[in-house]
Amino acid sequence: MTKKVSAGDLIKKLFTEKIIYVVLLALIIVIICIEPRFLSIINFSNILAQSSTRIIIALGAGMVLMVRGCDLSTGRMIGLAAVISASLLQDVDYAYRMYQNLPSLPIIVPLLLVIALCALLGTISGTCVAKLKVPPIIATLAMQLVLYGASSIYFDREPYGAQPIGGIKESLTKLCTRGVKIGSFRLPYLTIIAILVIVFMWILWNKTKFGKYMYAVGGNPDAAQVSGVNVSKILIATYALAAVMYAVAAVLEVGRIGSASNTTGNSYEMDAIASCVVGGVSMSGGIGTVGGIVTGVLIFTVINYGLSFIGVNMYWQYIVKGLIILLAVVVDMRKFAKRK
């Protein structure tokens, strides 16, 4: 099917539905004008590295948005998974080990452990939403508080108290900070992992029954039920799978940062939700693509990185981010209002 689009229509669309991209592009151009050195290969590589874990997190949070939810526990769940995995991944020679007699574990063991834990936690959130009919924001807000408490208790205890859990073994930190050299360009290993996750999620969303059911539940839960979809099951599985994404991201964050504390992951959900919305996921559910979310994260990271690069202070960055989120949702809601 081909549609003829006149130039007028295109411009109108650019300044209504697509205004968010116009604004963001303008912002990036401003950044480049102020500091042309922003356009360098090293920055490109850095942006990719910074985007990688965010993409994994946003894909998880995006699934929850897709089924008309909103996961506020994202950041704290990453925090809990981070402190637990960090405590199990400390180098045997490190002086301040949480578990002095723990043998050196292969990365996969703590990874699977936090994946299982987060899947369980996600299942609990999902069950509250699907079976107990708790509004998603409340269910995940409660989960957020509980998880912060739990990770703080785990983290802040004898003998070392509230000290960041450091001394992460080199195999993990190298994986999360280095990359493959391609000429003068360095492709971060993290990005390779992110690409694998993107491929996995794309297949899941587009090529499996689960993915189609997720769109159905998000698009119209009543119609989904009538069409024979087990709506509760899909909701619970969605929350659980999102949590698995957080667990994977948490271990990678531990490696990237080199330590973990109870503030690790704080407010990551806000960046994730913002990226999803900028990437075209509808807050009313049922609309969104893997590609859109990845684009959203990249745009957001470029803005973030760019603003820091030209020396805009943190506080102003918050204001800019807030306005971008607001604009994205206003555009989304206008689209929605028009459909009615």
Binding site: K209, A223, V229
Partner: protein, 504 residues
């Protein structure tokens, strides 16, 4: 200067895209009378009232209130001009008390504070006039429906209403409550208020009305003083059309009994004790008024609604249809009444909407194959003659008839043995209707069972083998379509209407 009529709606015409919902309808209401408005479902009564209250704009005609031409923009504006409506479904703030509901938006003030004492006194005064014995300070949500309705009437009185529209006010009232309502109506008449009374209940109409206006198919049919009418005459005027619409010829003869429903009732009391058998290749119609429990019956058969008592048997074995998922495994499929609410995924493609109920055929090595999906969807589009630029088009962009065909296509791809259709032709054009009838015939010819709920009696008589009539949650009879008449079905529909709901 007194006018002969307090309210005149003259030559009202209202068109929706492709449908003339009202065609030159006139309604004239005399002061201090009860004027009943009657007609089958879909005759245009609600549309007419929506035009009065400014919910719809007019395409033609004019409205004159007390000698003045008016065109209200909203129900709120109508209310300020002393025209009020008591809805079938009450719109109240349940978490606030009664008097706040009555005075909402125009609280009596003392400086910048709400004057609760004055509000209480005023409310009490109106309640005394209307013989309502409820404390104005009680939470609205704690009241029975009947009392909440009285509150709504009191609210109309507080606005000094000259015309009050009551839409099926007795549908959920007990006999005593109906009597109380009628006493209030008499009191209102004495105060000079006119009532437009919409109801399907013949006895009430005969008892309470001064005049009756009857509508059919969006047209005015008659306005008569009630003394000139009797129940039979009203029914004749309401349905009195010839079977001019064409229905495709049926040639198949139903085979052996396929399914059986015994003493079926819903868990939430909406209908009780429904019994019928269905043979292979048979089309069973379900008739009845709005609220008779027809949709609920179908929803219970398909597991959308929880079953109470009773059994559903397929080929002699009891089946568990407690969820749509299970019902589908037992060979059932259901086209729901509210297409937008629980039929279509408006923002998703035709391909998605067609295949979502049965994705298994397109799996290969655990993954869905687009080529297989496209093949099946394209075939469905051409088989059902769905008008669309392609399978990727959003279903929300299609016309109602084509959306309906897509959903029918969705269910046909699940290879059902029993097809439940709830108002399958509502809101779609004549051509698409005919195609849907043909499809039903074709399915019957293949030995499938079809159950169709419809509010259009000619359709039921023209398409079905037998017609089950529901009345107020009870089964009022099963008719052979060949021998049934509209009058007989109408009478059966009204059989238990005065008997009180099954829930009470």
């Amino acid at each position: 200067m007194a006018n002969e009529y307090i309210l005149e709606m003259k030559n009202i015409t209202k068109e929706f895209p492709g449908v003339k919902a009202l065609d030159d309808v006139t309604l004239k209401v005399r002061p201090a009378t009860v004027h009943s408005l009657m007609g089958e479902n879909g005759a245009g009564k609600s549309t007419l009232m929506n035009c009065l209250f400014g919910i719809y704009s007019l395409n033609g005609g004019e409205i004159i209130l007390d000698g003045q031409k008016v065109a209200f923009e909203s129900p709120a504006e109508a209310l300020r001009n002393h025209v009020s409506m008591v809805h079938q479904e009450l719109n109240q703030v349940l978490d606030r008390n009664i008097m706040e509901n009555i005075w909402l938006g125009r609280f009596p003030m003392k400086g910048i504070f709400v004057d609760h004492q004055k509000m209480y006194a005023e409310t009490k005064k109106i309640f005394e006039q209307l013989d309502i014995h409820v404390d104005p300070r009680v939470m609205t949500g704690s009241l029975q429906v009947a009392d909440r309705q009285m509150i709504e009437i009191a609210k109309a009185v507080s606005y000094d209403a000259k015309v009050i529209v009551m839409d099926e006010p007795t549908s959920s009232l007990t006999e005593d409550e109906v009597e109380h309502l009628f006493r209030i109506i008499e009191m209102l008449k004495k105060r000079g208020v006119s009532i437009i009374y919409i109801s399907h209940k013949m006895e009430e109409i005969m008892q309470i009305s001064d005049e009756v206006t009857i509508m059919r198919d969006g047209r005015w049919v008659a306005t008569e003083p009630v003394s000139n009418l009797d129940t039979n005459k009203i029914i004749r005027l309401m349905v009195g059309r010839e079977l001019t619409e064409r229905y495709p010829k049926r040639t198949t003869v139903p085979g052996e009994t396929y399914m059986k429903v015994e003493h079926l009732s819903s868990a939430v009391p909406k209908f009780i004790d429904v019994n019928f058998e269905l043979r292979k290749g048979e089309i069973l119609g379900v008739a009845g008024l709005v609220g008779a429990g027809r949709t609920e019956l179908l929803e219970t058969l398909f597991g959308i609604r929880t079953k109470g008592e009773g059994r559903i048997l397929v080929e002699g074995r009891e089946v568990d249809n407690s969820t749509p998922e299970k019902a589908m495994k037992n060979g059932f499929a259901m086209l729901t009444e509210e297409r937008r609410h629980n039929g279509i995924f408006a923002d998703l493609s035709i391909a998605f909407n067609t295949t979502i109920a049965n994705l298994d055929p397109y799996l290969k090595g655990g993954l869905l194959r687009n080529s297989l999906i496209k093949e099946k969807v394209d075939k469905t589009i051409s088989d059902l003659r769905i008008k669309t630029p392609g399978s990727k088009e959003k279903i929300g962009n299609l016309s109602g008839g084509n959306q309906q065909k897509v959903i029918l296509g969705r269910w046909l791809l699940t290879n059902p043995e029993v097809l439940l259709l709830d108002e399958p032709t509502r809101g779609i054009d004549v051509g698409a209707k005919y195609e849907i009838y043909q499809l039903m015939n074709q399915l019957a010819a293949e030995g499938k069972c079809v159950i169709m709920v419809s509010s259009e009696m000619p359709e039921l008589l023209g398409v079905c083998d037998r017609i089950l009539v529901m009345s107020n949650g009870r089964q009022a009879g099963i008719f052979e379509a060949a021998e049934a008449t509209q009058v007989a079905i109408m009478e059966a529909s009204a059989k238990y209407v005065s008997a009180g709901g099954v829930g009470v």
